[in-house]
Structures are given as structure tokens and as C-alpha cells.
Amino acid sequence: MDITLLQGPVLVAVSGLILLLVSLTHVAYLTYAERKIIARMQQRLGPNRVGPRGILQPIADVLKLIQKEDIFPATVDRPIFAIAPLISLVCAASGLALIPLWERFVLSNLNVGLLFILALSSLSAYGVILSGWASNSRYAFLGALRASAQVISYEVAMSLALLSVVLMAGSFNLQDIVKAQMESPFKVFLIPQIVAFFVFMVSALAETNRVPFDLPEAETELVAGYFVEYSGIRFALFYLAEYFGMVVMSALAVTCFLGGYAGPFEVPGLPFFWFLIKLYLLLFFYIWVRATLPRYRYDQLMSLGWKVLIPVALLNLFVTAFLKLMF
């Protein structure tokens, strides 16, 4: 099937549905992979009860969470409480539509795709802070405050890191960025922009509230952080949003730094092969970091963001701009 034929709205809807289903399975099995890999790193077995080697565990989890009662505590602000997880999920997941998964498969080829993804990831902080506020609970509120402060400060570093990429590619369009990488001498922006990549990865960890920057949901201090009052399917939506965030951030890193769907050679019949391999590598990195590092203290997190990452990213941006001017 030639995907360039997807011009009409129906076909876009169909491919969007396929993308949604595929990414949902990916997210579901990302939780499984995370549990398994972390277990092995800690010399445990991980889930092994549901199906062979626990392969059906994510499905069982989803079924369980759907069956659970959707509790609204008495003091919550009901409409906002109900809508916050949706905001979180939609903002986290819709970034995938802009990622060029293949030369001929981009759901929406915006010419400011990168900006749009950044905007979406900032918007997902609204889901977090609204849920924390509407929950009317100390833990949730503290978690939400932390999350918003963290997301806002790391957003700056992340945008600066991505700006260097934009400077090199000369475009905000993600498809163009991939093409610019294919034409660049190293084939990927990872090598000339290693500093930006580092800054991006660290800020992506913070942006998705992952260990070692999982302060918004610091289990030991805040129980679960901003979604402490949630249960059932709404809780699952927050969970989904977090993992979708991981996937989108990894996909963005693949697109902007690792050459997107381009690979060293063509794999016949598997157009998404290289993209997926790179994506899985980065997702593994997320899990790997989670299994290894302890949580940062809040002041350390802030000083890392403002005193290290932003200056480094700025410096990198200036050097990139300078070199771009010279040559």
C-alpha cells in the first residue's frame, strides 16, 4: 500500500487510528518492558503470572483499572478533576502525529512541527497542575507545584538545545530536519550536537517526570504526587500520559539527533525499522536510568536546570550559530 495516497480526510483518519492503536500497544508494552528490565537489573523476575512470562500483564492491568470504581473524593472540583487527565493525555500523545515515522508517513507535516511539539509538552503541564489544584489535597497540590516549576525550567533548556538543531537544519519542520541530517557530513546531528543531545536527554527526563527527576510524584514524600486522589481509568490516563510523554520525547530525540527514519542501509519491507530501533534504544535508556539513579533533591534539580543545563545549552547555541556564520 502506498501511503502517499493518504490525501483525503478519511484516509488521514484511518492512518491516525492505526497510529493510535500501534502507539497504545507500544505504551502498554513499554510498561511491561520497564517492569521486566528493572526487575532483571535488580535480579528479580518481574511480572510472570499472566500468560507466558507475564506477557499479558499490561492487558490485565488495563482490564483491572477499567473495572475499578472511578472515585471522586467529596472535596474535589469535579469538572476540572474529571478533565485534567484528559488534558494530560491528549497533550502528551498528540505529539506523535507530527513525528515523521517514515519518509512518506507523517500524519501532519506542519512547517513548525518542532514548535508545536514543544507547545504540546508545555500544555501537558496544565493537566498536571489542574489535577493537583482540583484534587484539593496537600500531596497532590505539592506535586503539581513541583511539576509545573520543573517543567517550566527544563522547557527552556530543552528548547535551547533543540534550537541548535533548528539552526543546523534551517527549518522547524521535522521532516526537513531529518532530510538535513541525511545531507549533513555525519548523517546525524548527534555528533556535532552531542552537547545539545545531552541537554535534551536530561531535560526530557525532567519533562516527562521520570527518575531521577520524578519529584512531582516522589513516592517516598508525596505518595503519588499530583494524581494521588485519582483511581480507576483516570489514574490509568495519567499513567498513559507519562509513558506517551516518554515515547514522544524519544521520538523527538530520534528525529532531531539520531537521523529519524534514515538508517545505514535500507531494510526491505520494513520501512519503520530504523526509526523503531532508535526509539527502543532511547526508551531502554529511560528505563536503564530509572533502575540506576536515585531521585535528586528539589534544590539540586533546580540548580541543575538553571545553573548548568541552560548556560550549557546557550553556549552551545552560540557556538553553533557562530560556526554556521563562519562556514
Binding site: 526487575a39 537489573m41 535480579q43 523476575l45
Partner: protein, 180 residues
């Protein structure tokens, strides 16, 4: 070194290398009891109580000296005996151990001069009521039969000759004992 170490995140890479090594090289240490792995207790594990059945008489070896009942810290052993006038011996009428009160200290088997009472190495037992874990003399003898079937003969429980206790101070029967 300090600055370079910080810039290159050496400590973090070390940590990451450790977890990667664990992932790739090490096996899980989880014991999947009871589906896959069997747990075999070490000799001297203090499990379900039993009264050793005398192979000759088919009855307990107990002579009714009451030492076990006296030494028991939780007082869960109750013994009743009557004196047989012909043989001039005590005959055990009742020997009860309330397993739910037992603390499994093993004093009773250490103190028993004839090695009649024992905490077997059998540990997979349950009860749905108090009565099921209230071991009477018959049940205790039955416990012994169930346990000794699974053991190599002669069987010698380590607590019958406690470690570090001078052999010459043991009662005569305990000293000469080589197993059942």
C-alpha cells in the same frame, strides 16, 4: 579530576554500567516456591512437632519425666501419665503440644533424656482451625511416621546432641544414641 569527573558524569556512568552488567550477566535470585523451586530445609530446621515411635513397642519413647513441659518457655506441652505398678514405669496417657503457642525454640528436644520428642524438618503444614494444630499424642506419632518416611535412616536430629554441650554431661541414653 573533580571537575572532569563531574562534567563527564563518571559516577553516573559507573552506576549505569553496574545495572547493565546485572541485566546482562546475572540471573534472578527469586525462589519460585512452590511452583518451580523446592525449598529443602537445612538439617536441624525446627518444623512440625513429632514423638518418635519406638520401633519395638510401636509406642512413644517418652518416659514421662516432664522435663520438656518444664523447660518449655511458652508452656505449650501438657503431659499426663500414670504409673504402671508392675513394670514400675510411667505410662503416658496424654501428651499434647499446642503448636499455635509453640515458639519453636527446640528446648524440649534438647532436654529430653531419651530423644522422644523432636521438631521435624517438615514445615509445609497448615490448619484451618485451632484443633488441627493442637497435636495430641496420636497426631504426634503420626507426624513422626509421615516425617521419617522421607528421611535417610538412621536419622539423628542435631538438637538431640546439642552443639557445644560436653558429651559426658548428656544423659546416658542421649550419649549412646546414634539415630533411629
Amino acid at each position: 579530576m573533580g571537575l572532569l569527573q563531574k562534567v563527564l558524569l563518571l559516577e553516573i556512568w559507573k552506576g549505569l554500567a553496574l545495572t547493565l552488567r546485572k541485566l546482562l550477566l546475572e540471573r534472578p535470585v527469586t525462589i519460585q516456591y512452590p511452583e518451580k523451586d523446592k525449598v529443602i530445609p537445612k538439617p536441624g530446621f525446627r518444623g512440625r512437632h513429632a514423638l518418635v515411635r519406638d520401633p519395638q513397642s510401636g509406642d512413644t519413647l517418652c518416659i514421662g519425666c516432664m522435663r520438656c513441659a518444664r523447660v518449655c518457655p511458652s508452656k505449650c506441652i501438657q503431659i499426663e501419665y500414670e504409673v504402671d505398678p508392675e513394670a514400675k514405669r510411667r505410662r503416658i496417657v496424654r501428651y499434647d503440644i499446642e503448636a499455635l503457642r509453640c515458639v519453636y525454640c527446640g528446648y524440649c528436644e534438647e532436654v529430653c533424656p531419651v530423644n522422644a520428642v523432636v521438631l521435624t524438618e517438615f514445615f509445609e503444614y497448615i490448619g484451618f482451625s485451632r484443633e488441627e494444630l493442637y497435636f495430641t499424642k496420636e497426631k504426634l506419632l503420626q507426624n513422626w511416621d509421615d516425617f521419617i518416611k522421607t528421611q535417610k535412616r538412621p536419622y539423628l536430629n542435631p538438637f538431640w546432641k546439642p552443639r557445644g554441650y560436653p558429651e559426658r554431661l548428656l544423659p546416658a541414653k542421649k550419649r549412646a544414641f546414634t539415630g533411629v
